[in-house]
Amino acid sequence: MKQTDLTAYNKYIRKKWIVLLVMVGLLFASAIASLSAGSANLSVLDILRTVFGGGNRQQNAIIWNVRMPRVVTATVVGMALALSGCVMQNVLRNPLASASTLGVSQGASFGAAVAIVYFGAGIQVNAGGATSALTVTNPAMVTLCAFLGGIATTAVILGLARFRGTSPATMVLAGVAISSMFTGGTALVQYFCDDVMVATVVYWTFGSLGRAGWTEIAIITALTFGAFVFFYYNRWNYNAMEGGTRTAKSLGVPVDRLIVLSMALCALISSVAVAFVGCISFIGLIAAHIMRRFVGNDYRFLIPCSALCGGVLLLLSDIVSRMLLSPTVLPIGALTSFLGAPLFLYLIIKGGKRK
């Protein structure tokens, strides 16, 4: 074997490792930036000292009770949404697939609204003005209902893809229809409840990274980590899926089982993310597309890079949402939609062609 041949391949792989390391660095930098953003002036040094156990009482309170839960939530939720988008795009053979474009988030949102209004799983805590927050009193119930809403949408999408062989465009149109149905359902839920509850649900649907406590963070972190392990374990199967289902089957991929399990896990992590922080659109759609430009369709790198990119995007969006009109915190769901929509339009203009 010629030495130069492997050298070229090794160099090519090294580039992908560098991208992965850069993404890890960006995530840490974004997390530090997010930890330092806020009304209390803390320097990077103060933050690092506090994180490593050397902070004073006030610094500990600010970092560990206020900012750190928000940073960890943004990171993990961003990762969960990006992972689900990345894998959905692969198994559905659809570059426009993500939890928000296929209606999974809206289904989960409806489920969570039902849990809050009818099963008493959430109550508004009036902390005053723009910072009033909703505390989820029964995270398990909200998670379960959100998951049922998300998985119901996923079942419809899978059914369409499997039995009708729909094109990517039709699948997204179906997603629009399902989203519309669940948005209508959520509106009806609001219509039949009292004013306080309406305010609660509306506020909840804006999306907020500040409402998840350590319990919720632990749940979503465990689920996202579990999903990541499954996705990463199947990275070669996803690579094979890129060549089409026939090629994948001929390479020994259990295609049907892979699609169902992957979609169920995608629905689970994106639904739980929606349940805890509300609807956050576009992160799932764009993270994988951004990373494809740097690491191609090699899922050995695309899966971890997309997850890191999702974390970075949501951390940066959160910083913008807190700093743009400080001290008012803009709703993160609205902000990601506002920033993500132009990119979505760009993808549509490009014809949604999968490379």
Binding site: M1, K2, D5, L6, A8, Y9, Y12, R93, W236, N237, N239, A240, E242, G243, G244, R246, T247, K249, S250, L251, G252, V253, P254, R292, G296, N297, D298, K355
Partner: protein, 249 residues
């Protein structure tokens, strides 16, 4: 030796294959011939279990391929589809994917060595770090062939491997397949529409007519009569300089 016995396949609205079977030796190239809809592609996809046949068996060197695990079957039977979805990856990555049935956690040195050897063998060493969408149709088909070959199969299934190629590339592709089959000792079953290309490069010919085997054998089975019966065409089979060619009337 490859032994295909009594393969049947049907959709709810009718039978596609009815008790198809034949045998082939190592190194042989078998051409599957017949009209569109005769069941050629279905047969090929039944042989590697992309479709599940209603009945029948495939025995490779005495082992029932239909009882193999998914990975074992992928190591034994390779497949090149008629249409390949292009992904944004390099030639090397695409070929490396063919080693998937062998890869457990990470890529081994052996996987890399085999890929380089096959890429060199199909003449694409200078293109190995190029992206697939930068290749011509002929080069792309060679990449797909290389991807199938790195699994070191005993049976190679090709579904119209030359359908989108110009005459030069059709000839090169089939010559390469024939050469590699003899050199590495695997059997090839290929769906092929160009009768003259089949006559030039196939050792045996299996005629399928409406899902049933019409005839099987060497070049002597390709006659004006068999072509008329199977394709419904009037053609002459001529012997020119020791080679048979088909001329349509």
């Amino acid at each position: 030796m490859i032994e295909i016995k009594d393969i049947s396949f049907s959709y709810p609205d009718g039978d596609i294959l009815k008790g198809v079977g034949f045998t082939a030796e190592r190194g042989e190239v078998v051409g599957l011939l017949g009209n569109n809809g005769a069941g050629k592609s279905t047969l090929v996809t039944c042989l590697n279990r992309i479709r599940k046949p209603k009945s029948g068996s495939l025995t490779i060197d005495g082992k029932n391929a239909f009882q193999m695990t998914r990975n074992e079957l992928a190591r034994t039977v390779s497949y090149v589809a008629q249409k390949n979805e292009l992904t944004h990856s390099t030639v090397f990555d695409c070929v490396l994917l063919g080693r998937k049935p062998y890869i457990t956690w990470s890529v081994s040195q052996e996987d890399l060595d085999i890929c380089t050897r096959i890429i060199e063998r199909v003449g694409l060493l200078d293109f190995q770090m190029r992206y697939l969408d930068e290749l011509s149709g002929g080069e792309l088909q060679k990449v797909m062939l290389a991807r199938a070959l790195v699994a070191e199969p005993k049976l190679l299934l090709l579904d119209e491997p030359t359908s989108n190629l110009d005459p030069k590339n059709q000839y090169e592709m089939m010559a390469l397949v024939q050469e590699l089959a003899k050199e590495q000792g695997f059997t090839v079953i290929t769906v092929i529409h160009d009768l003259n290309l089949a006559l030039r490069f196939c050792d045996k010919f299996y005629f399928l007519k409406a899902g049933e085997g019409y005839s099987y054998g060497g070049i002597e089975t390709v006659t004006a009569e068999s072509l008329n019966d199977v394709y419904g065409i009037k053609a002459r089979v001529l012997d020119i300089e020791g080679r048979k060619i088909v001329i349509m009337e």
